[in-house]
């Protein structure tokens, strides 16, 4: 009987929910700083000397941070997606 008993384990969140506020603030700050860098670059460099790869790299990394930051912001505020 013992061997047949089904072993069950409780499942929780992969990241402890106490970390959500910290992660949200950290990721969003980094994301917003990168966004600022992106727009400063866009505004200050002339059309002919802009590097497309640099634009995409900054935008991509910024959106990665902003995306995850927004997710943790949502989770922090109680909107569990």
């Amino acid at each position: 009987m013992q061997a047949q008993e089904v072993v069950v384990t409780a499942i929780g969140s992969p990241i402890p929910h106490t970390l959500y506020p910290f992660l949200a603030v950290l990721l969003l700050i980094v994301g917003l700083v990168l966004t600022a860098a992106f727009f400063i670059y866009e505004a200050t460099t002339s059309k002919f000397s802009r590097s497309l790869s640099r634009e995409f790299a900054t935008g991509g990394v910024a959106s990665l941070f902003l995306g995850f930051g927004t997710l943790f912001l949502l989770l922090w505020t109680g909107v569990y997606v």
Binding site: A10, I15, E42, G67, T70, L71, V81
Partner: protein, 616 residues
């Protein structure tokens, strides 16, 4: 006995006989003793019967039948039979549950249910069986309409005899009433009213399927809280939460309210006024329930009280108005519970939700209970394990950050009573944790799309005509800005080289070591040489550029001054190195270098100003 009942009786005998033919063993069973306790203290009728069954025949019996009248069978909410083994009070109960309805009642009077025994009952043996039947909507208010100050009286129809397909040797029935106020009760043989109990029997040797209709008319002021429809939505998020939302359509199922309603009487004389009405309900929520809300279409309903300890959470809520007979109210109750309290992973890799089925309220009847389990996006193969019969359906729900939608398991149960509410049920499904990343990646894609739009906006031109003067002017201006920026960049590089050389000159002044200074001079010269080509090219571009006329003088002055500055610095370096190599006194060195230094400083300042001036 009138003609009709005689006929029915004969028919029932025939029915019993036909059952004898179908299952020969059945007729050999005898009920030695039946004790029936009928609980009428609430709106729900609960009939608990303990049966002593004896096999009077010789053949083994593997199933036992018991019966209900069709009127009652339609109102059955819950049905259970428990085999009691051993005679001691410490009953080791093995639930021998439940029962398929056999179509034994062709005239629509009797419905037979069968209980399969775990092991056959041998001839001459006996066993104890307990049946438990829960009926709803069988207490009929009479009078049907009452005023605010009246008590609610209800009628209950039953048989004094236990309706059974087997003959019963000794039986008795007790009806437990909510109060001692009894308007009337039928008398059949030995009938007693003791306090708030009506006792029938004991009766001896009653035929199979015999009935003795009785009617009880008594006061019942218990809240007849009937939920016409309850939609219970359980939404799982693997980020650590389960949302439970319960949408209630609550009504008072008792005697309808007649006449006007006086709030003054209701408030000032609560004992005499609105005895059958109810004004609050108690919901038992799971422990750790949080973010509880109670609202309706208008908004939040503030009349609620939440108490919680480590075992449970209790919510006492008051609808917007007290409920009298026939009145209705709709509201929504919602709360969140932590995922780890109800979500488990079984050893075969599947995940399952283990949560209670029914309403949070203890004493309500739910006519139509719909439980929707919203599984996370990306989960597959949902299977349900519910210990009673439910209708199953599937849906797709779209909520926040969904792409393909979440699979929803819809379970519908008619006529649910508190006996169902606390039963746990399981929803098994397969889910890959990677799918949790779908939502954040959707957000990332959204942000990235925004950045791409910005990049596209600054890279494309949106003129109506490419040859228009203003567009041409803009292009030229941008070209000029680009040239200026490039010039500034080159100047920056040259300036840095100069700064480094100057720093090494200061080092010489401190240490007297000229070797390092010479190396610095070489690197600086190399940089200047390299960049001078760029400067030449840029200067030519400035000359070619159409709109450079107003910056051209500035650029030329800058180039010239910068050249002078570099020359002065070179002279200074030569002078310094020479002076130190000849080991002149510090006074002489200062005298030699000072004029060069001052000229260099002014030139450097001028160059810096000119570079900034170009920005305009």
């Amino acid at each position: 006995m009138n003609e009709n009942t005689k006929f029915q009786f004969a028919f029932l005998l025939f029915l019993a006989a036909s059952w004898y033919l179908i299952s020969p063993a059945a007729a050999n069973l005898v009920l030695n003793r039946v004790d029936r306790r009928v609980d009428l203290t609430s709106q729900i009728v609960r009939i608990a019967s303990s049966l002593k069954v004896e096999n009077a025949g010789t053949d083994d019996v593997s199933e036992i039948l018991f019966s209900l009248s069709t009127e009652q069978a339609e109102k059955v909410a819950f049905l259970q039979a428990v085999l009691v083994e051993g005679k001691s009070k410490s009953k080791s109960k093995s639930s021998a549950v439940i029962l398929t309805v056999t179509s034994g009642s062709s005239d629509g009077r009797v419905m037979l249910f069968s209980v399969a025994l775990p092991k056959p009952l041998k001839g001459g043996d006996s066993l104890s069986l307990e049946t438990y039947v829960v009926l709803t909507h069988v207490l009929k208010p009479f009078p049907e309409e009452i005023g605010q100050s009246d008590a609610q009286l209800v009628l209950f129809h039953e048989s004094a005899y236990f309706l059974s397909p087997y003959p019963v040797k000794v039986q008795s029935t007790t009806f437990k009433l909510p109060s001692s106020r009894v308007e009337s009760y039928s008398k059949v043989g030995v009938t007693k009213l003791v306090d708030s109990e009506v006792r029938y029997g004991p009766y001896e040797n009653v035929e199979a399927l015999a009935t003795a209709p009785i009617t009880l008319h008594f006061e019942n002021n218990q809240p007849f809280a009937v939920v016409e429809e309850l939609v219970r939505e359980i939404e799982i998020s693997h980020w650590g939460n389960i949302y439970v939302t319960e949408n209630y359509k609550l009504s008072h199922g008792g005697a309808r309210h007649k006449g006007s309603f006086s709030r003054f009487d209701y408030q000032s004389r609560p004992a005499q006024s609105g005895a059958a009405s109810f004004r609050h309900l108690l919901a038992r929520l799971p422990p750790h329930a949080h973010s509880v809300y109670y609202r309706d279409e208008i908004g939040n309903i503030s009349t609620s009280h939440l108490r919680s300890d480590f075992k449970k959470t209790e919510l006492e809520l008051e609808p917007r108005y007290p409920l009298f007979g026939g009145w209705k109210v709709t509201f929504t109750l919602g709360y969140s519970v932590p995922l780890e309290d109800f979500m488990y992973k079984s050893s075969d890799g599947r995940r399952f939700l283990n949560i209670t089925f029914g309403s949070s309220f203890g004493h309500v009847v739910v006519d139509n209970l719909i439980v929707k389990v919203v599984l996370p996006e990306g989960s597959t193969q949902p299977t349900i394990s519910v210990p009673f019969a439910v209708e199953q359906d599937k849906e797709i729900k779209h909520t926040y950050l969904d792409t393909v939608g979440r699979p929803v398991v819809v379970l519908t149960k008619k006529n649910a009573v508190p006996e169902h509410h606390n039963i746990f049920f399981q929803v098994y499904y397969r889910f890959n944790s990677i799918a949790m990343l779908a939502e954040p990646l959707l957000l990332v894609t959204g942000f990235f799309a925004f950045f791409v739009l910005c990049i596209a906006y600054v890279h494309f031109d949106f003129p109506i005509s490419k040859s228009s003067a203003s567009f041409q002017a803009q292009v030229q201006r941008e070209e000029l800005v680009d040239l200026v920026q490039r010039l500034q960049k080159v100047m920056g590089i040259r300036g840095e080289a100069a700064d480094r050389l100057e720093a090494s000159l200061r080092d010489v002044a401190r240490s007297g070591d000229t070797a390092q200074c010479k190396v610095a001079r070489k690197t600086a010269d190399a940089t200047w040489k390299e960049t001078s080509k760029d400067l030449k090219a840029l200067s030519e571009s400035f000359h070619l550029s159409a709109r450079s006329s107003f910056v051209l003088p500035k650029v030329e002055v800058l180039l010239q001054k910068e050249k002078e500055m570099v020359e002065k610095l070179q002279q200074k370096q030569v002078a310094t190195v020479e002076a130190y190599e000849r080991k002149l006194s510090s006074k002489d060195i200062d005298a030699r270098i000072a004029p060069l230094q001052s000229k260099y400083s002014t030139l450097k300042q001028e160059v810096r100003d000119l570079i900034y001036a170009l920005d305009d």
